[in-house]
């Protein structure tokens, strides 16, 4: 129901202030990225004298951000593909199939959601080292898959639970196998959820610093966010250049958000209501 009169302002004003507080850091970063170093040091909060993309170009050209972007794209696409495949299969199994230990396995998956990455850092590092996966794209893809799969399973199970059993029974009557039900019924029906979960996982993978820093040991294999974090150290006295790097890293995330905001919201709220 739409608010009227005073009630509308009570809602609108705080919302506008919240939006401003959210947007301001981005505008500040954009403004800083447009400044020269001297301009920034002399007055951090003034508007840039001239609009120039020199810092963004410098950050891109001198700091290997192009290579880092490529790495981020590869591991994000790889991890999201694997996450969607495994997550949808598991979600289907947990929600629609009956097998021994189902409830316990699901609880284990939910429990994995509660384990902070910091707790498993050391064994994680050792296993990747022993299996030769350290400092490889595949290693990071598997690392992201392991880390974000419980979340994916939770959301996909929640979504698939809403599909009436009659749909699957009808497919069975028509002679479909379990794999056939998954491929022909669950995957097409789950497309909205897969899109939402895929976008959220893509944002998680793209924005991650800690796991990537741990897995990718050499500079050439770094992902974009690690590269930008390193920029902060390398150019600690050149904040405009750092801001340029931040913008490069943030642009794909902002683009994803602008294009897929409805799916992101659906993904975040999935499972909160039933029916």
């Amino acid at each position: 129901m739409r608010e009227r009169g005073f009630g509308r302002w009570v809602v609108a004003v705080p919302m506008c202030l919240l939006a401003l507080a959210t947007i301001y850091p981005m505008l500040f970063t954009l403004n800083v990225a447009m400044k020269s170093r001297r301009e920034y040091v002399l007055n951090q909060f003034s508007l840039a004298d001239h609009l120039t993309a020199a810092n963004i170009a410098d950050a891109w050209n001198t700091s290997g951000l192009g290579r880092y972007t490529f790495n981020s794209v590869v591991v994000t696409l790889g991890a999201v593909t694997l996450l969607l495949l495994l997550g949808s299969m598991a979600g289907f199994a947990f929600s629609q199939l009956t097998f021994w230990g189902r409830k316990w396995l699901f609880l284990v998956c939910l429990g994995a959601l509660m384990i902070p990455f910091q707790v498993i850092m050391v064994p994680f590092f050792r296993v990747l080292g022993q299996t030769g996966l350290l400092d490889t794209h595949l290693g990071l893809i598997l690392a992201y898959t392991g880390q974000f799969l419980p979340f994916t399973i939770f959301l996909m199970t929640s979504f698939y639970s809403r599909i009436p059993a009659e749909v699957i029974e009808a497919a069975r009557v028509d002679g479909s196998t379990t794999l056939g039900v998954y491929r022909r019924i669950m995957l097409p029906l789950g497309r909205p959820a897969l899109l939402s979960v895929g976008i959220l996982n893509a944002l998680f993978c793209w924005n991650d610093v800690l796991i990537s820093l741990l897995v990718m040991q050499s500079e050439q294999n770094r992902t974009l966010m690690v590269g930008v974090t390193a920029l902060r150290g390398q150019y600690s006295d050149n904040i405009p250049l750092f801001a340029g790097g931040v913008l490069v890293a943030a642009l794909p995330v902002i683009a994803i958000y602008l294009f897929f905001q409805r799916q992101i919201t659906d993904g975040v709220t999935a499972g909160s209501t039933k029916g």
């Binding site: 040091v41 998956c109 994680f124 029974e169 902060r232 006295d237």
Partner: protein, 437 residues
Amino acid sequence: MSTASTRTPKRRWVAAALVSALAGATCLATAACGAAAPQSQAGGGTAEQAQKLVVWDWHSGDASTKAYYDKAKSDFEAKHPGVQVDFVAQPYDQYYTLLGTAIQAGKGPDIAMFNGGAQMRERATSLLPLDDKTADLKDRLVGWDAFKDAGTTYAVPITLQGFPFYYNKAVYKKAGLDPETPPKTLAELQTDCAAIKKSGNVCFNLGNKEGIGIEFFLSGFAPGVFSPAQYDAWLAGKRDWKSPEVKQIFDLWKQTNDDGWYNKGVNSTAMFNDQFTMFSGGKGGNVIGLISDTAHWKSFDEFLGPDLGVYQAPILNPANVSKTFLPAEGGIGYGVMKWTKSPDLAVDLIKSLAGTDAEKQFFEKAGAIAADKTIDTSTVDVKAAGQIVSWLPDSKPLLHTALSAKTLDLMHRLSQQLISGDVTVDAALTQLAASDK
């Protein structure tokens, strides 16, 4: 949750296969907890891998240190052709987390960069003792104490670290003060601060968001408070947190804030690099800065030029102190990790990193005061740099680096609470004394 209405053995098998697939992937992280088999050493087992040295630091990606690393690398490669050297610049924010993981896993770089003091001592058990391998460096380099643990040397100093007081002569002039006469006593400092404040500037720039402002304050002002015997006792581990001198410093920390010496929002201002950016931008009369890899004479000189001045800690306690000094010690250094396959090669690489020609590049291009006392610093035409170098022979180590990481963490938190008024000086000192046992 609904389930399939009919069940056959085939369906159960397919379901089990699906779940097994996900379980395998899910447990990549969790199963790792139980999969920690005995760790083989890093560096690789083949001859080819043994001829490669990996160095972790937080500087080799800086444009300003490129000449230093290029020189060190070419020097090493001339001595050891065919040995590959990889410098990996890690983000400083995450550096010790990453190194800690590598140390616990027993796998990582052959050589690692360390801050002197607690950061290195906490990790000394993972480093090779270097005393018998670095005798030829002992006389040429200074700052070794910061890289010793229980009398054993674990890293080679590359730069020095110290806390001089930098000041802006233009701000002093605007306040009607003599720009060539920085304060020598607490009374003079108070008078100057009052004048600077009256002229519309802040007396000191400070950022204590990370809580480390207190480190600079304690180590920066201590030479003007502690008697030489008290200073040495502190460094030797005999620390009396309830002494009038320690209380005087912590009282001053709170009092100076209450008196409005600093910029607004101290606890929400980052020291690196907002505090130093403010000073470079001419928005403060003084700052306690560094001589090592950042916030040093060169970075300030770039913006302040001839207005940049530097002075030693003022005398706050004339009963104890007749002459102050620059607190300084080893800043950053390189240590050899225990698991390296090529310890001799690693030591040789560190010797190249500590070479005089390379160190000269670090000083001139990156602005850090090098640990090599034989380099010619007269080539740099910045008065502040020359003054700092001339003070080094009389310097003594910093007080805060003698503390454990645990006590330093506590001190960071307390420094913020003191400023916000959530804890008294006496209560803070009681907590610090208990932590520092």
